[in-house]
């Protein structure tokens, strides 16, 4: 398969993730869609790495995974804190920070 197919898949997954962030109201699911977008980026990175024959892209993908893990940790910690304070787990209800 030529590399273009992988990039097409990556683009599709990225757009799907973006749409998911906008549509869903559960912050957990929004985080999951964020994961989708990150993974799409990973796929593109690895595809390009394969194209150039350079392993730098794969290292980048690894670091992205690290970052995603950290972000998930904090995000879930926030959601747990929300749940602990009996706040609604719904991004449309949580809108105190407004002008």
């Amino acid at each position: 398969m030529n590399v273009g197919w992988y990039l097409a898949v990556s683009a599709l997954i990225f757009s799907a993730g973006a749409a998911g962030v906008l549509v869903r109201r559960n912050p957990l699911v929004i985080l999951l869609c964020l994961e989708l977008m990150l993974n799409a980026g990973n796929l593109a990175l690895v595809a390009f790495s394969r194209m150039h024959g350079n392993a730098d892209g794969q290292v980048f993908a690894l670091i992205v995974m690290v970052v995603a893990a950290c972000e998930v940790t904090i995000g879930l910690g926030l959601i747990v804190a929300l749940y602990r304070r009996r706040l609604p787990i719904d991004v449309d209800e949580l809108r105190e920070l407004r002008g």
Binding site: V21, L22, R25, V91, D92, L94, E96, R98
Partner: protein, 669 residues
């Protein structure tokens, strides 16, 4: 010492008096402020005498001396220096101003003795004298304008001296506004003259004037007429005269000093000083003469009907200044100045005596309530008689010689000036009538209550009240003090009035026709090369004038005697028969009402419109409100973007990213 050094000293003393009183008045006990103020003026008078002696020590050709203190501004062709000009005309005015002021200060020491604003009064008086001296000693237009404005300010401060009286503050504002109109005329007139001569200095202007202006040239006439506007405002001539009767709200010494002897004569001085310009613009001279004459007769007729004693004297002042303006406008400079001198004496004396009379009446100023004070106030009565005789031009009092000289000069000019001559003598008759009307009504007849009390030795007392409106007042600061002081009981008042009375009698002696010419000779160097100064009057007209004048004054006194003393009730019958003319005269020819309708109300309405409608709707609503509402709408829109919804923010992010990548896509293709 040179005349100009003396001239500077004359200026310095009143200024020092002002500064000392202003800075230390809290620590000055009793009447010290009064003594300081009075001594300052007497020192100035001594310096003026010193200047006179020093000037007379020079040859006549050398008697116009200038001295510059420093250069104030020099740019765009305008050179303003602090210069004084000492010449006979200036010395004449300086002596009159400092001399009469000194006597009035002396009078005020006891007249205002119980007033809470005592020190303030003397500070204001010293400030006034300083400004007036600056005006008469000015060597260029700029300093003249400074002095002019200064006396206007002093007039306002002193008219509204009892500032808690509503009528007094209104009168002060009225005087100041009309004065400002005159100031504008003065400045514009200066401009018109400066435009061609290029210099503000007096001597240089007068030198250049014949070269730069042709006779009756437009700009020169305009400039001189505008100077006349300034003179009329300051000297209370038609049509800018309405402030003078209202200015009687001020304390009586103020009326004596400012509105009789000195400030109102500033207009006369101005025309006399500017004689080279006026002689090049005969049209302006005619304007001045006509307005002076009109004022003369109008004021005399109004004075016949007024009941407030101070207002009678005020209209008398207006009338006499009309004589002076008429005199200096037609070229009778020394005659006008002579009349200014004699008038200062007898008018100040009349005001002082009126002050004493009003004090005896416990503040009442209306002639309707006064009668029979002859026995209770003998000294005041004598003063009134002396001043009244001088004012009515009864020989051999001073007024006789001075007024007569002006009319002689006018008659001598011939042509249409005969009308002025005739009107002048009619005015003289009326002067005698209204003056003695006032004296007979106040001092003859049955004594009124207050007079009877004073004959017993008890000075009348009453609740403090406003003489014009009758409303009650108290005697705290801003109102007249609780005590009233009459001349019979206060020595300073008597001394001052003695000095003025002596002057009224003997002043005429210095310019008796064909006997001596002290005034003309003295003033000669100032009016060198004047077209009119050297003219001599024919004897026929002189003798006729003297005789007519004597006859008219005696007749006037007799008429007044008959109406108000011999046959009581005559006055009431005359008033009934001539009800309409009486009403017009009592209402002062409705000048105030006319001004109110034509100028004051439209301006007030315009101001009201500007404030209520324009300010509120256009400025606040449209301009300020419009811009702020635009800003507010914009910020509301932007604020709407921050609604707190996470997904909304994410959507905005996405839209932004899509837009940016679109841009990059397009730019790279």
């Amino acid at each position: 010492m040179s005349p100009t050094t003396w001239g500077w000293l004359v200026l310095v003393f009143p200024l020092l008096g002002l500064i000392v009183i202003s800075l230390s008045w809290r620590r000055l006990p009793g009447r010290t402020a009064g003594y300081i103020g009075t001594s300052a003026i007497w020192l100035a008078f001594a310096s003026a005498v010193g200047a006179l002696v020093s000037l007379q020590g020079r040859v006549p050709a050398d008697r116009q001396v200038t001295s510059t203190a420093f250069n104030y501004a020099n740019s765009v062709g305008v050179d303003i220096k602090l210069t004084i000009l000492i010449d006979p005309l200036a010395i004449w005015m300086m002596l009159i101003v400092t001399g009469v002021s000194g006597l009035i200060h002396l009078y005020s020491i006891s007249y205002l003795g119980s007033d809470r604003g005592y020190a303030r009064f003397f500070a204001y008086l010293n400030y006034f004298v300083f400004s007036m001296l600056l005006l008469v000693e000015a060597g260029n237009f700029a300093i003249l304008i400074v002095g002019w404005a200064g006396v206007g300010a002093a007039s306002y401060l002193l008219i509204s001296f009892w500032y808690r009286r509503g009528t007094a503050t209104e009168a002060g504002i009225k005087a100041f506004v009309i004065n400002v109109i005159g100031d504008v005329g003065l400045v514009l007139g200066t401009y018109f003259i400066f435009k061609h001569t290029g210099t503000l200095d007096f001597l240089k202007t007068f030198d250049k004037a014949p070269d730069v202006f042709s006779s009756n040239e437009g700009d020169l006439v305009a400039g001189c007429v505008l100077l006349l506007v300034g003179a009329f405002a300051k000297s209370a001539q038609i049509p800018l005269h309405t402030w003078l009767p209202d200015a009687m709200e001020g304390p009586t010494p103020v009326s004596a000093l400012i509105h009789a002897a000195t400030m109102v004569t500033a207009g006369v001085y101005l025309i006399a000083r500017m004689w080279p310009l006026f002689e090049l613009a005969p049209s302006a001279e005619d304007v001045g003469a006509i307005f002076g004459c009109a004022t003369l007769i109008m004021a005399a007729t109004i004075a016949l009907t007024q009941t407030d004693v101070k207002r009678v004297i005020a209209y008398s002042t207006m009338s006499q200044i009309g004589y002076m303006i008429m005199g200096v406008s037609v070229g009778a400079y020394s005659a006008g100045m002579f009349h200014l001198f004699t008038h200062a004496f007898f008018k100040a004396l009349l005001f002082m005596a009126a002050g004493s009379l009003i004090s005896a009446m416990a503040g009442e100023q209306s002639l309707d309530r006064m009668s029979g004070w002859r026995r209770a106030l003998p000294f005041t009565f004598l003063s009134f008689m002396t001043g009244g005789l001088a004012l009515s031009a009864v020989p051999p009092f001073s007024g006789f010689f001075s007024k007569d000289e002006i009319l002689l000069f006018v008659g001598n000019l011939g042509g249409w000036h005969w009308a002025l001559y005739v009107i002048g003598y009619i005015g003289a008759l009326l002067t005698a009538i209204y003056t003695f009307r006032m004296i007979f009504r106040a001092f003859f007849g049955q004594p009124c209550e207050e007079a009877k009390e004073l004959e017993q030795g008890h000075l009348a007392h009453a609740e403090p009240f406003n003489p014009q409106t009758g409303e009650k007042e108290d005697t705290d600061v801003g109102f007249p003090g609780p005590e009233h002081h009459i001349a019979e009981r206060e020595r300073p008042m008597r001394v001052a009035m003695y000095a003025l009375a002596v002057g009224c009698v003997v002043d005429g002696l210095i310019q008796i026709p064909h006997v001596d010419n002290v005034v003309s000779n003295f003033l000669q160097p100032s009016f060198e090369a004047s077209r009119y100064f050297g003219e001599t009057e024919p004897d026929g007209l002189l003798i006729f004038g003297l005789a007519l004048s004597s006859v008219l004054s005696i007749v006037g006194i007799a008429v007044a005697y008959r109406i108000w003393v011999q046959r009581p009730g005559t006055a009431a019958r005359i008033r009934e028969r001539f009800a309409l003319p009486y009403r017009v005269l009592v209402n002062k020819y409705y000048w105030d009402e006319a001004y109110d309708a034509v100028i004051v109300r439209p301006l007030a309405a315009a101001g009201q419109f500007a404030q209520q409608t324009f300010e509120r709707v256009v400025v606040d609503g449209l301009l300020v409100g419009g811009t702020t509402s635009v800003v507010r709408a914009g910020s509301a829109t932007v604020r709407g973007l921050q609604n707190g919804f996470l997904r909304y923010y994410a959507a905005l992010l996405l839209v932004g990213v899509a837009g940016v990548s679109l841009y990059f896509l397009l730019s790279s293709s």
